[in-house]
Symmetry: C2
Subunit: 358 residues, 2 copies
C-alpha cells in the first residue's frame, strides 16, 4: 500500500496522491492510504464510511469549520503520472486530478497533520464519488447515516477557484422540452405533421433568452439557459413525430428549485416540459461572521461560483459554505489539467494563517 508522508510539502503530497489513480469507484487505495496516515495523528478523531474519511479535532472550541475535498477524479486520459512542466517560466504540475481536486486535498491533509492546536475546531472530510451521480456521492451517504458530522459554523470546499474565495453556487436544472407530430412518408408530407419544425419556437425562445445577472448577498451570479442536446428523426424518408430539446438552466441561488422549474415552464409555455433533475444553488453565506473573517484573512474579495458544487449541500444543511482551492476551474476535467506550484502554496498559506490566528 502506498504511504503518505504528511510532513512533505503540499506540492509533493499533490504529486503523490495524483499518482495514485482514484477515478470514481476506484478510490479504495487512496482512501486506505489517507486513512492510515490520518489515524497515526493522535489529535484527530477518525471516522470512516466506505471511502469517505472524517477526521475531527475535539478541542472544545466555541466554533467549528468543516473543510472538505473529494478524492475521486474523472477518468484518466494519458495524463497520469503527473509531470513537472513550466509555463511562461513558472513551474506547474500537470496531470489528472491536479486541479480537480487533489492539490486542494493535499493542502488539507498537510494542515490536518500540522495544525494540532487550531483556533477553532476543524472537521476534515475527504470523500468519494463526487464526479458521478449524486446518489453515489460519499457526502450523500454520510448525510443520511451521520448528519451530526456536518455540524459547523462554516464550511470550506477545496474545489478549484484559482486560490480565491468563491461563494455559494448557482443552481442547476435539466429539463426536456418535447414537440410531437404525426409520422408520414416524406413524399407525402402533407399527411403528417413535422415535430422538428414544431421545435422552431423552442429554439427561438432559447436564442432570444437574456439570462439575468443576479446580486445575492453582495455577489453577482450570472445565470444561463441553454440547449445542451437536440434529437429527432425516424428515417431519411419519414416525417418525424417527436423532437426533444434538453435544456440546462443554471440559476442564481436566490431562486429556489421550485421557482426555477416554474420559470422554465413559463419560458416554454405551451410546450411539454419534463424536468429531469434540479439541484438548488447555495447563497454565498458571506454574512456569517466566520465567513467574513475568512475572506478578510485570505486577503481578497469573494467571487461568485457559477458551477454547482457540494457547497450547496452544506448550505441546504444550514452551514454557510465557500469554495477555496488551487487550480483554474476551466482546466478541471481537461486533458491538460495542471496547477501552478505557487497556487498550491498560496492556498496552504491562506488556510494555515486563518486557522492558526489568535
Amino acid at each position: 500500500m502506498p504511504q503518505l508522508d504528511l510532513t512533505a510539502t503540499s506540492l509533493d503530497l499533490t504529486r503523490t496522491i495524483c499518482d495514485i489513480p482514484s477515478v470514481s469507484g476506484d478510490e479504495g487505495v487512496l482512501a486506505d492510504a489517507i486513512d492510515t496516515a490520518i489515524r497515526a495523528l493522535p489529535h484527530l478523531e477518525v471516522y470512516r464510511d466506505g471511502d469517505t474519511i472524517v477526521a475531527r479535532t475535539q478541542l472544545g472550541r466555541s466554533q467549528r469549520v468543516v473543510i472538505a475535498g473529494h478524492i475521486d477524479t474523472v477518468p484518466i486520459n494519458g495524463n497520469v503520472p503527473t509531470r513537472d512542466i513550466a509555463i511562461d517560466g513558472e513551474p506547474v504540475l500537470w496531470g489528472r486530478g491536479t486541479v480537480d481536486m487533489k492539490a486542494g486535498v493535499a493542502v488539507q491533509l498537510k494542515l490536518a497533520a500540522e495544525l494540532t492546536d487550531p483556533r477553532i475546531d476543524i472537521t476534515w472530510m475527504w470523500y468519494d464519488h463526487e464526479e458521478v451521480d449524486a446518489d453515489l456521492n460519499g457526502l450523500t451517504r454520510l448525510s443520511r447515516t451521520r448528519p451530526d458530522l456536518f455540524a459547523g459554523d462554516f464550511a470550506i470546499l477545496g474545489e478549484p477557484s484559482n486560490g480565491q474565495v468563491e461563494g455559494g453556487c448557482n443552481g442547476n436544472m435539466r429539463a426536456i422540452v418535447r414537440t410531437r407530430g404525426v409520422r408520414a412518408h416524406s413524399a407525402r408530407a402533407w399527411i403528417g405533421r413535422n415535430a422538428i419544425h414544431a421545435a422552431a419556437p423552442v429554439l427561438a425562445r432559447l436564442a432570444e433568452y437574456r439570462p439575468r445577472d443576479v446580486p445575492v448577498d453582495g455577489l453577482v451570479y450570472r445565470e444561463g439557459m441553454n440547449a445542451v442536446r437536440i434529437g429527432g428523426g425516424v428515417a431519411g424518408n419519414v416525417i418525424p413525430d417527436l423532437c426533444e430539446v434538453e435544456v440546462n438552466y443554471r440559476f442564481a441561488p436566490s431562486r429556489t428549485a421550485e421557482e426555477a422549474q416554474l420559470h422554465v415552464r413559463d419560458v416554454f409555455d405551451g410546450f411539454d416540459v419534463d424536468v429531469v433533475d434540479v439541484a438548488a444553488g447555495a447563497r454565498p453565506g458571506l454574512d456569517a461572521p466566520l465567513a467574513q473573517e475568512f475572506v478578510a484573512s485570505v486577503g481578497g474579495q469573494a467571487h461568485p461560483k457559477y458551477g454547482w458544487t457540494d457547497v450547496a449541500r452544506f448550505s441546504a444543511m444550514g452551514v454557510p459554505a465557500v469554495n477555496y482551492g488551487p487550480g483554474d476551474p476551466h482546466l478541471a476535467h481537461h486533458d491538460e489539467e495542471r496547477v501552478p506550484h505557487a497556487q498550491i502554496e498560496d492556498v496552504e498559506r491562506g488556510l494555515r494563517a486563518w486557522l492558526s490566528a489568535r
Copy 2:
C-alpha cells in the same frame, strides 16, 4: 427449386411469389424460378444479369414498350407467408410484397407467358435490389452493361398506384444544414456559443416554408421540404458546438437536380448546406403517343406520382415512363401490407387489353 405455373391466375401467382422470400440481397431463389419459367416460353428472348431477368418479344413491331418490376422486398416482419383476409367483405391478400410489388410482377409474368402476339413489341424486366442503395439496383447495373435493353417508346413500372396511372415522379434530395458554435462548460455559457440555438432560424424557415404545387404536362406535383432528422449535443453540461438538420426536399419534375440544389441553398442562405444526394424526378411523359393511348385504354385519368421511382431512370434515358400497378402505395413497407384481389385483376385486365388491342 420452387416452380412457377404461369398459367395460374395472377392472384395465385402473387401468392406463390410472395411466399418465396426475396428480401433485397436474397433474390436468387425467386430469380431462378422466374428464369426457368420464362425460358420455357419460345416467344421470348431471355437475358440474365445477376438476379435481373430481361425477356423480349422480337416480332418486328414498329414500337416497343418496356414493362418492369422489381422482385425484392423490404425485410419481412412476421408477414410471410401470405394470408387471405377480408376487409369490409372484400377479399384481400395480406403479406410482405403483396403491394410492393409482387402483385405487379405476378401480372407481368402471367401476361409475358400469355401474350405471344402483342400489338407492340414488349421488353419485360424483373430486377433485384430496388429497395436498397441505388448503386446496388439491378437496373443501375444493367444500364451500364446493356443500355441497349432499355430501348423503347414507352415504359411502364408496375409500382403500386392503386391500379391507376401515375405519371412521372417528384425528384428527391437530401441535404445537411449545419450550424456551428464554440464549446464551453454550461455553467459558464457566455464563454461559448450555442450551435443548437443557432439552428433556430433553420427550423423557422422550414416551418414557414410553403411548398409549391407545380403543374407539369397536365399533372400537378406537390412538393415538400422537411427536416427528417436533427441532432446536436456533447454532454449535459457542455454548450454544443455543432447542430445538424437533415432536410429532405421532394421537388417537381420540372425542376432539375441543379435547380433543386440552388433552391435549397437559397432557402438556407447564410448557412452551411451540404447536399448528400439528389435524384431528379421524371416528367409524366404523357405527351408520348403510346402513353396517351395507354391512359385512354386503361380508362382513366393519370395522376402524379409523389414518391421517387425507377420511372426517373427511364425518363433520364429518354423513355417516357409511368407507374401502373395494384396496391395502395401508403401500404408499401407497412407491416399490414395487403392488396385487394380485385386490384390485381383490374391491372391484369388493363394491361392485357392495351397490349392485345389492334
